[in-house]
Amino acid sequence: MDGFYKKEKFNFISLLPIFLLFFISLNGNSVVDLIYFSISIHYIIVYYWILRKPETLGYGFIFISGIITDVIYGSPLGVNALSLLIIAAVAAYVRAVTVKITLITDWISFIPALLITNFIYFLSVYFSNYPVDYLFILKNSISTFIFYPVLWVFFSIIFNFLKS
């Protein structure tokens, strides 16, 4: 009985990243847009979990979550899915080339990840004839980068719980 309880608890916690990914997509909270800040929670979730524990987030789930975000936000179908997959690809690459993972290394490697992703996002929106808000992209990149350690700490608690 005790073993079953522990296994169920582990299963629930290991599903938490997927649950969060879909919850924010369906609720339209992928980007928290305030007056001076605009944080892409979606990017942070995908980057962190692909970097630390890729088996918790399937690429297929990331793709579907991106499609949901596209429909909810009214952006061209595939734009957010592509952005999320690009950030997952950068995270997978960083995971393959780094040995020790710390907040600083994660944070620094998040800069090129954000730059590449937002560049791809800009290209796909531009070629879909949608208006591009350059200021929003800049604001979003900077705020997401600044906010990364906050979610890193929160996710690390879940990660350590899963490890133990």
Partner: protein, 282 residues
């Protein structure tokens, strides 16, 4: 040097090509599918449109169910706030009520005078628009588009470009119609440009959204006499919307002519959609 290059290519291959740790799909394959989807989005064919409608309707329904707890918490918070502001609201309403009572007498006279004058110039006084009511399903704030989703689509004969009203006030137009749902582009959106007329100055202009709460008036004549408090109505000049739908009142801030909307866009629950407009009634 060669070893370095090999390391990089191995890392790239492991990131993109191999399915890796318990992954069912290759990252590269999904990236290619996403890119194809972006290109397909531009193609307008019947089968593709049906697939799009199906995807949109399914996701909108799922989203409205998933956001129920979130909405519930918001409602409780708002109700608690309203409860604490009850006394202040009562006093405000008392003052407003006495002002409105005074205005009713003035309005009755103006309405009578208006009808007589319209008869004099043989203008049609009754509106030919037919309305369909719908409930706001999703009003998530998107950083890309100022819009909300309503629970009526082509099943209620809604078409692209139709005017959307909250009560009697203009709030936006339909931009995307699915079978059971539609997307309303609000007047505050970057892409929204509405032909308007100001009252009492009578100038024609364009109401242009900027993604902020207050849209602005553009293309006004240089010698215009628009002042704070002037009312803004649809002019019907573009031949789509009926003329005279109230939108808001003018508020000049730092020499920019902004429009304070009559409807609070974040508080809309039900809307009316004009399914017959000028072009069809002609």
């Amino acid at each position: 040097m060669d070893t370095n290059r090999e390391d990089i290519s191995i890392a790239i291959r492991s990131a993109f090509l191999s399915k890796g740790t318990k992954q069912r799909f290759s990252l590269l394959a999904l990236i290619i599918i996403s890119t194809i989807l972006i290109f397909i989005e531009k193609i307008e064919t019947k089968p593709l449109n049906y697939v799009r409608l199906l995807i949109n309707d399914t996701i909108f329904k799922s989203s409205s169910v998933a956001s129920l707890p979130y909405k519930g918490i918001n409602t409780i918070t708002k109700k608690t706030k309203n409860h604490f502001n009850l006394y202040d609201n009562y006093n405000e309403l008392k003052i407003e009520n006495s002002e409105l009572k005074n205005n009713i007498l003035k309005n009755n006279f103006l309405e009578l005078e208006n009808t007589q004058l319209r008869k004099l110039i043989d203008e049609q006084t009754s509106s030919k628009s037919n309305f369909v009511s719908a409930r706001v399903m999703l009003d998530n704030k998107s950083p890309y588009i100022n819009s909300f989703i309503i629970n009526a689509g082509s099943n209620k004969k809604i078409k692209n470009g139709k005017a959307v009203l909250s009560g009697k006030n203009f709030v936006g137009r339909i931009v995307d119609v699915n079978y059971f749902s539609s997307r309303v582009l609000l007047v505050t959106d970057l892409n929204s440009k509405i032909a308007i007329i100001t009252e009492p100055s009578g100038h024609h202009a364009l109401l242009s959204g900027h993604g902020e709460k207050k849209p602005t008036l553009e293309y006004l004549p240089k010698d215009h006499s628009v002042r704070d408090g002037n009312k803004v109505y649809t002019s019907g000049k573009e031949g789509v919307f009926a003329p005279g739908i109230p939108i808001g009142s003018v508020k000049i801030e730092k020499n920019i002519i902004k429009v304070l909307l009559f409807s609070n866009l974040s508080q809309i629950t039900f809307v009316n959609i004009a399914i017959k407009d000028l072009t069809e009634s002609k």
